[in-house]
Symmetry: C2
Subunit: 177 residues, 2 copies
Protein backbone atom coordinates (compact mmCIF):
# COMPACT_ATOMS: atom_id res chain seq x y z
CA UNK A 1 0.00 0.00 0.00
CA UNK A 2 1.37 3.41 -0.96
CA UNK A 3 0.54 6.13 1.50
CA UNK A 4 0.65 9.81 0.84
CA UNK A 5 3.13 11.69 2.89
CA UNK A 6 5.00 14.94 2.99
CA UNK A 7 8.21 15.36 4.88
CA UNK A 8 7.37 17.86 7.58
CA UNK A 9 5.43 20.47 5.70
CA UNK A 10 5.68 24.00 6.99
CA UNK A 11 2.30 25.34 8.11
CA UNK A 12 0.95 28.17 6.02
CA UNK A 13 0.85 31.67 7.30
CA UNK A 14 -0.90 34.22 5.26
CA UNK A 15 -0.13 37.78 4.40
CA UNK A 16 -3.83 38.04 3.72
CA UNK A 17 -4.06 40.42 0.82
CA UNK A 18 -7.39 39.80 -0.85
CA UNK A 19 -7.53 38.73 -4.43
CA UNK A 20 -4.35 40.59 -5.18
CA UNK A 21 -1.82 40.01 -7.81
CA UNK A 22 1.40 39.22 -6.07
CA UNK A 23 4.24 41.51 -7.03
CA UNK A 24 7.11 39.54 -8.41
CA UNK A 25 10.16 39.82 -6.24
CA UNK A 26 12.09 40.79 -9.35
CA UNK A 27 15.57 40.85 -8.10
CA UNK A 28 15.31 44.04 -6.08
CA UNK A 29 19.03 44.30 -5.27
CA UNK A 30 18.29 45.54 -1.76
CA UNK A 31 16.15 42.50 -0.98
CA UNK A 32 18.63 40.18 -2.64
CA UNK A 33 21.54 41.22 -0.47
CA UNK A 34 19.27 41.21 2.57
CA UNK A 35 18.33 37.61 1.88
CA UNK A 36 21.93 36.71 1.26
CA UNK A 37 22.84 38.12 4.67
CA UNK A 38 20.10 36.06 6.28
CA UNK A 39 21.33 32.96 4.56
CA UNK A 40 24.90 33.58 5.64
CA UNK A 41 23.73 33.93 9.22
CA UNK A 42 21.73 30.74 8.90
CA UNK A 43 24.69 28.81 7.56
CA UNK A 44 26.97 30.00 10.31
CA UNK A 45 24.42 29.13 12.95
CA UNK A 46 24.06 25.62 11.61
CA UNK A 47 27.75 25.02 11.19
CA UNK A 48 27.44 24.97 7.43
CA UNK A 49 29.88 26.72 5.20
CA UNK A 50 29.70 29.73 2.92
CA UNK A 51 31.19 28.87 -0.41
CA UNK A 52 31.84 30.60 -3.68
CA UNK A 53 29.44 28.20 -5.39
CA UNK A 54 26.59 28.79 -2.96
CA UNK A 55 27.03 32.50 -3.30
CA UNK A 56 26.85 32.39 -7.08
CA UNK A 57 23.92 29.98 -7.13
CA UNK A 58 21.91 31.88 -4.54
CA UNK A 59 22.59 35.20 -6.24
CA UNK A 60 21.44 33.89 -9.57
CA UNK A 61 18.42 32.21 -8.03
CA UNK A 62 17.26 35.33 -6.24
CA UNK A 63 17.90 37.44 -9.30
CA UNK A 64 15.93 35.08 -11.51
CA UNK A 65 12.97 35.30 -9.23
CA UNK A 66 10.30 32.82 -10.08
CA UNK A 67 9.57 29.14 -10.55
CA UNK A 68 12.75 27.76 -11.99
CA UNK A 69 13.89 24.15 -12.25
CA UNK A 70 17.27 23.07 -10.93
CA UNK A 71 18.13 22.16 -14.49
CA UNK A 72 17.27 25.60 -15.87
CA UNK A 73 19.06 27.41 -13.07
CA UNK A 74 22.09 25.22 -13.66
CA UNK A 75 22.07 26.05 -17.36
CA UNK A 76 21.82 29.73 -16.61
CA UNK A 77 24.73 29.62 -14.19
CA UNK A 78 26.75 27.33 -16.40
CA UNK A 79 26.98 29.94 -19.12
CA UNK A 80 29.24 32.12 -16.94
CA UNK A 81 30.55 29.56 -14.46
CA UNK A 82 31.45 26.40 -16.29
CA UNK A 83 32.89 24.75 -13.21
CA UNK A 84 29.74 24.73 -11.04
CA UNK A 85 28.05 21.36 -11.27
CA UNK A 86 24.39 20.53 -11.54
CA UNK A 87 24.54 18.57 -8.30
CA UNK A 88 25.60 21.63 -6.36
CA UNK A 89 22.81 23.71 -7.87
CA UNK A 90 20.36 20.97 -6.98
CA UNK A 91 21.68 20.64 -3.45
CA UNK A 92 21.70 24.37 -2.89
CA UNK A 93 18.05 24.64 -3.90
CA UNK A 94 17.24 21.81 -1.51
CA UNK A 95 19.16 23.57 1.22
CA UNK A 96 17.31 26.81 0.57
CA UNK A 97 14.05 24.92 0.72
CA UNK A 98 14.85 23.15 3.97
CA UNK A 99 15.98 26.38 5.54
CA UNK A 100 12.91 28.33 4.49
CA UNK A 101 14.39 30.61 1.82
CA UNK A 102 12.75 28.82 -1.08
CA UNK A 103 9.69 26.76 -1.83
CA UNK A 104 9.46 23.70 -4.01
CA UNK A 105 6.58 23.63 -6.45
CA UNK A 106 5.29 20.70 -8.42
CA UNK A 107 2.91 21.76 -11.15
CA UNK A 108 1.13 19.56 -13.63
CA UNK A 109 4.14 18.90 -15.80
CA UNK A 110 5.69 17.13 -12.86
CA UNK A 111 8.97 19.03 -12.83
CA UNK A 112 10.23 20.37 -9.54
CA UNK A 113 10.52 24.13 -9.61
CA UNK A 114 11.82 26.45 -6.93
CA UNK A 115 10.89 29.98 -6.06
CA UNK A 116 12.49 32.36 -3.60
CA UNK A 117 10.00 32.84 -0.83
CA UNK A 118 10.28 33.86 2.76
CA UNK A 119 8.68 31.38 5.12
CA UNK A 120 5.80 33.69 5.99
CA UNK A 121 4.51 34.14 2.48
CA UNK A 122 1.92 31.99 0.77
CA UNK A 123 0.28 32.23 -2.59
CA UNK A 124 -1.38 30.12 -5.24
CA UNK A 125 -0.95 29.92 -8.98
CA UNK A 126 -2.63 30.43 -12.32
CA UNK A 127 -0.80 28.58 -15.07
CA UNK A 128 -1.27 29.19 -18.78
CA UNK A 129 -1.46 26.01 -20.80
CA UNK A 130 -0.44 27.85 -23.93
CA UNK A 131 2.47 30.15 -23.10
CA UNK A 132 3.46 28.62 -19.76
CA UNK A 133 3.27 31.89 -17.89
CA UNK A 134 2.60 31.60 -14.18
CA UNK A 135 0.62 34.18 -12.28
CA UNK A 136 0.28 34.35 -8.53
CA UNK A 137 -2.47 35.35 -6.19
CA UNK A 138 -3.55 35.23 -2.62
CA UNK A 139 -7.11 35.48 -1.46
CA UNK A 140 -8.21 35.57 2.12
CA UNK A 141 -11.82 34.66 1.40
CA UNK A 142 -10.58 31.54 -0.34
CA UNK A 143 -8.40 30.53 2.56
CA UNK A 144 -11.28 31.02 4.98
CA UNK A 145 -13.58 28.92 2.84
CA UNK A 146 -10.97 26.20 2.76
CA UNK A 147 -10.84 26.18 6.54
CA UNK A 148 -14.59 25.97 6.66
CA UNK A 149 -14.71 22.98 4.37
CA UNK A 150 -11.94 21.26 6.29
CA UNK A 151 -13.83 21.80 9.54
CA UNK A 152 -16.78 19.88 8.18
CA UNK A 153 -14.49 16.88 8.00
CA UNK A 154 -12.79 17.53 11.33
CA UNK A 155 -9.71 17.98 9.20
CA UNK A 156 -6.78 20.14 10.31
CA UNK A 157 -5.13 21.75 7.28
CA UNK A 158 -1.36 22.06 7.43
CA UNK A 159 -0.79 23.10 3.87
CA UNK A 160 -2.65 23.18 0.63
CA UNK A 161 -2.14 23.27 -3.07
CA UNK A 162 -4.33 25.24 -5.40
CA UNK A 163 -3.56 25.67 -9.05
CA UNK A 164 -5.67 26.89 -11.92
CA UNK A 165 -4.82 25.68 -15.41
CA UNK A 166 -6.19 27.48 -18.41
CA UNK A 167 -5.45 30.34 -20.76
CA UNK A 168 -4.11 33.75 -19.86
CA UNK A 169 -5.44 37.01 -21.23
CA UNK A 170 -2.95 36.97 -24.08
CA UNK A 171 -3.58 33.35 -25.05
CA UNK A 172 -7.31 32.89 -24.50
CA UNK A 173 -8.24 33.96 -28.02
CA UNK A 174 -6.20 31.34 -29.80
CA UNK A 175 -7.02 28.64 -27.25
CA UNK A 176 -8.27 25.33 -28.69
CA UNK A 177 -12.02 24.85 -28.75
Amino acid sequence: MNFIFLDRPRPLSLTCIMGNRRKHSTACPRKVSEKKEQLKAFLKQKGFKSTRQRDIIVTEFLKTGEHITAEDLYRKINRKNREIGFTTVYRTLKLLTKSGFATERLFADNLTRYEPLSAEEHHDHLICLSCGSIMEFENLKMERLQEKIAEEFGFCIITHKMEFYGYCRECRDNAPA
Copy 2:
Protein backbone atom coordinates in the same frame (compact mmCIF):
# COMPACT_ATOMS: atom_id res chain seq x y z
CA MET B 1 13.16 26.77 -20.84
CA ASN B 2 10.69 24.29 -19.40
CA PHE B 3 7.10 25.25 -19.97
CA ILE B 4 4.14 23.92 -18.12
CA PHE B 5 1.73 22.00 -20.22
CA LEU B 6 -1.05 19.50 -19.96
CA ASP B 7 -2.01 17.24 -22.78
CA ARG B 8 -5.53 18.31 -23.69
CA PRO B 9 -7.14 18.66 -20.30
CA ARG B 10 -10.82 17.97 -20.13
CA PRO B 11 -12.78 21.03 -18.95
CA LEU B 12 -14.44 20.67 -15.59
CA SER B 13 -18.13 20.33 -15.25
CA LEU B 14 -19.61 20.42 -11.84
CA THR B 15 -22.31 18.45 -10.18
CA CYS B 16 -22.47 21.38 -7.82
CA ILE B 17 -23.28 19.86 -4.48
CA MET B 18 -22.24 22.34 -1.85
CA GLY B 19 -19.63 21.37 0.69
CA ASN B 20 -20.71 17.78 0.51
CA ARG B 21 -18.83 14.70 1.30
CA ARG B 22 -18.69 12.72 -1.88
CA LYS B 23 -20.05 9.24 -1.52
CA HIS B 24 -17.46 6.70 -2.46
CA SER B 25 -18.48 4.72 -5.48
CA THR B 26 -17.80 1.61 -3.45
CA ALA B 27 -18.23 -1.04 -5.97
CA CYS B 28 -22.00 -0.91 -6.23
CA PRO B 29 -22.35 -4.00 -8.46
CA ARG B 30 -25.12 -2.34 -10.46
CA LYS B 31 -22.93 0.64 -11.32
CA VAL B 32 -19.94 -1.57 -11.99
CA SER B 33 -21.65 -3.63 -14.65
CA GLU B 34 -23.20 -0.50 -16.09
CA LYS B 35 -19.75 1.06 -16.48
CA LYS B 36 -18.42 -2.15 -17.95
CA GLU B 37 -21.18 -2.08 -20.55
CA GLN B 38 -20.31 1.49 -21.44
CA LEU B 39 -16.67 0.58 -21.79
CA LYS B 40 -17.48 -2.38 -24.00
CA ALA B 41 -19.52 -0.11 -26.25
CA PHE B 42 -16.69 2.39 -26.34
CA LEU B 43 -14.15 -0.25 -27.33
CA LYS B 44 -16.33 -1.58 -30.09
CA GLN B 45 -16.96 1.88 -31.44
CA LYS B 46 -13.26 2.64 -31.55
CA GLY B 47 -12.28 -0.68 -33.11
CA PHE B 48 -10.52 -1.74 -29.93
CA LYS B 49 -10.89 -5.22 -28.54
CA SER B 50 -12.49 -6.65 -25.44
CA THR B 51 -10.06 -8.97 -23.77
CA ARG B 52 -10.05 -11.21 -20.76
CA GLN B 53 -7.30 -9.08 -19.24
CA ARG B 54 -9.13 -5.80 -19.70
CA ASP B 55 -12.23 -7.28 -18.19
CA ILE B 56 -10.42 -8.49 -15.11
CA ILE B 57 -8.48 -5.27 -14.69
CA VAL B 58 -11.50 -3.03 -15.14
CA THR B 59 -13.59 -5.13 -12.80
CA GLU B 60 -10.99 -5.01 -10.08
CA PHE B 61 -10.42 -1.30 -10.64
CA LEU B 62 -14.09 -0.42 -10.37
CA LYS B 63 -14.51 -2.68 -7.38
CA THR B 64 -11.56 -1.14 -5.59
CA GLY B 65 -13.02 2.29 -6.05
CA GLU B 66 -10.59 5.00 -5.08
CA HIS B 67 -7.16 6.45 -5.80
CA ILE B 68 -5.07 3.44 -6.59
CA THR B 69 -1.68 3.28 -8.26
CA ALA B 70 -1.09 1.05 -11.28
CA GLU B 71 1.42 -0.80 -9.13
CA ASP B 72 -1.06 -1.46 -6.32
CA LEU B 73 -3.82 -2.49 -8.68
CA TYR B 74 -1.39 -4.81 -10.40
CA ARG B 75 -0.42 -6.41 -7.09
CA LYS B 76 -4.05 -6.87 -6.19
CA ILE B 77 -4.86 -8.53 -9.49
CA ASN B 78 -1.68 -10.54 -9.49
CA ARG B 79 -2.73 -12.45 -6.40
CA LYS B 80 -5.49 -14.20 -8.34
CA ASN B 81 -4.28 -13.78 -11.90
CA ARG B 82 -0.57 -14.43 -12.05
CA GLU B 83 -0.44 -14.14 -15.81
CA ILE B 84 -1.64 -10.53 -16.16
CA GLY B 85 1.35 -8.22 -16.50
CA PHE B 86 1.96 -4.86 -14.96
CA THR B 87 2.20 -3.26 -18.39
CA THR B 88 -1.32 -4.30 -19.26
CA VAL B 89 -2.68 -2.93 -16.01
CA TYR B 90 -0.83 0.29 -16.65
CA ARG B 91 -2.06 0.52 -20.22
CA THR B 92 -5.63 -0.26 -19.26
CA LEU B 93 -5.65 2.54 -16.70
CA LYS B 94 -4.28 4.88 -19.34
CA LEU B 95 -6.99 3.73 -21.73
CA LEU B 96 -9.69 4.30 -19.13
CA THR B 97 -8.30 7.76 -18.52
CA LYS B 98 -8.16 8.70 -22.16
CA SER B 99 -11.66 7.43 -22.71
CA GLY B 100 -13.10 9.27 -19.74
CA PHE B 101 -13.81 6.38 -17.39
CA ALA B 102 -11.01 7.23 -14.99
CA THR B 103 -9.04 10.20 -13.79
CA GLU B 104 -5.35 10.42 -13.09
CA ARG B 105 -4.37 12.09 -9.84
CA LEU B 106 -0.95 13.24 -8.77
CA PHE B 107 -0.80 14.05 -5.09
CA ALA B 108 2.16 15.30 -3.13
CA ASP B 109 3.94 11.97 -2.98
CA ASN B 110 4.32 12.12 -6.71
CA LEU B 111 2.80 8.75 -7.50
CA THR B 112 0.19 8.53 -10.22
CA ARG B 113 -3.10 7.27 -8.87
CA TYR B 114 -6.29 6.50 -10.73
CA GLU B 115 -9.88 6.72 -9.67
CA PRO B 116 -13.01 5.60 -11.51
CA LEU B 117 -14.87 8.73 -12.45
CA SER B 118 -17.33 9.61 -15.12
CA ALA B 119 -16.28 12.60 -17.17
CA GLU B 120 -18.94 14.88 -15.72
CA GLU B 121 -17.88 14.60 -12.13
CA HIS B 122 -15.39 16.79 -10.38
CA HIS B 123 -14.17 16.91 -6.83
CA ASP B 124 -11.21 17.94 -4.72
CA HIS B 125 -9.28 16.18 -1.99
CA LEU B 126 -8.33 16.27 1.67
CA ILE B 127 -5.30 14.10 2.35
CA CYS B 128 -4.17 12.95 5.77
CA LEU B 129 -0.43 13.20 6.27
CA SER B 130 -0.56 10.62 9.03
CA CYS B 131 -2.78 7.76 7.91
CA GLY B 132 -2.89 8.54 4.19
CA SER B 133 -6.66 8.55 4.01
CA ILE B 134 -8.14 10.61 1.22
CA MET B 135 -11.46 12.41 1.58
CA GLU B 136 -13.34 14.08 -1.21
CA PHE B 137 -15.48 17.15 -1.46
CA GLU B 138 -17.09 19.50 -3.89
CA ASN B 139 -18.10 23.02 -3.10
CA LEU B 140 -19.91 25.34 -5.43
CA LYS B 141 -19.03 28.50 -3.54
CA MET B 142 -15.39 27.59 -3.89
CA GLU B 143 -15.68 27.02 -7.61
CA ARG B 144 -17.40 30.36 -8.05
CA LEU B 145 -14.74 32.15 -6.06
CA GLN B 146 -12.10 30.55 -8.23
CA GLU B 147 -13.81 31.87 -11.33
CA LYS B 148 -13.96 35.31 -9.79
CA ILE B 149 -10.25 35.32 -9.03
CA ALA B 150 -9.43 34.07 -12.50
CA GLU B 151 -11.53 36.83 -14.04
CA GLU B 152 -9.40 39.44 -12.32
CA PHE B 153 -6.50 38.13 -14.35
CA GLY B 154 -8.47 37.72 -17.55
CA PHE B 155 -7.68 34.06 -17.09
CA CYS B 156 -9.90 31.32 -18.51
CA ILE B 157 -9.83 28.28 -16.23
CA ILE B 158 -9.90 24.91 -17.97
CA THR B 159 -9.17 22.77 -14.97
CA HIS B 160 -7.87 23.15 -11.48
CA LYS B 161 -6.21 21.26 -8.72
CA MET B 162 -7.03 21.78 -5.09
CA GLU B 163 -5.67 19.60 -2.35
CA PHE B 164 -5.58 20.05 1.39
CA TYR B 165 -2.86 18.31 3.35
CA GLY B 166 -3.18 17.91 7.07
CA TYR B 167 -4.56 15.61 9.72
CA CYS B 168 -7.88 13.86 9.69
CA ARG B 169 -10.25 13.65 12.63
CA GLU B 170 -8.73 10.38 13.76
CA CYS B 171 -5.13 11.54 13.45
CA ARG B 172 -5.25 15.15 14.53
CA ASP B 173 -4.66 14.39 18.20
CA ASN B 174 -1.38 12.61 17.70
CA ALA B 175 -0.22 15.01 14.99
CA PRO B 176 3.27 16.47 15.48
CA ALA B 177 3.45 19.92 17.07
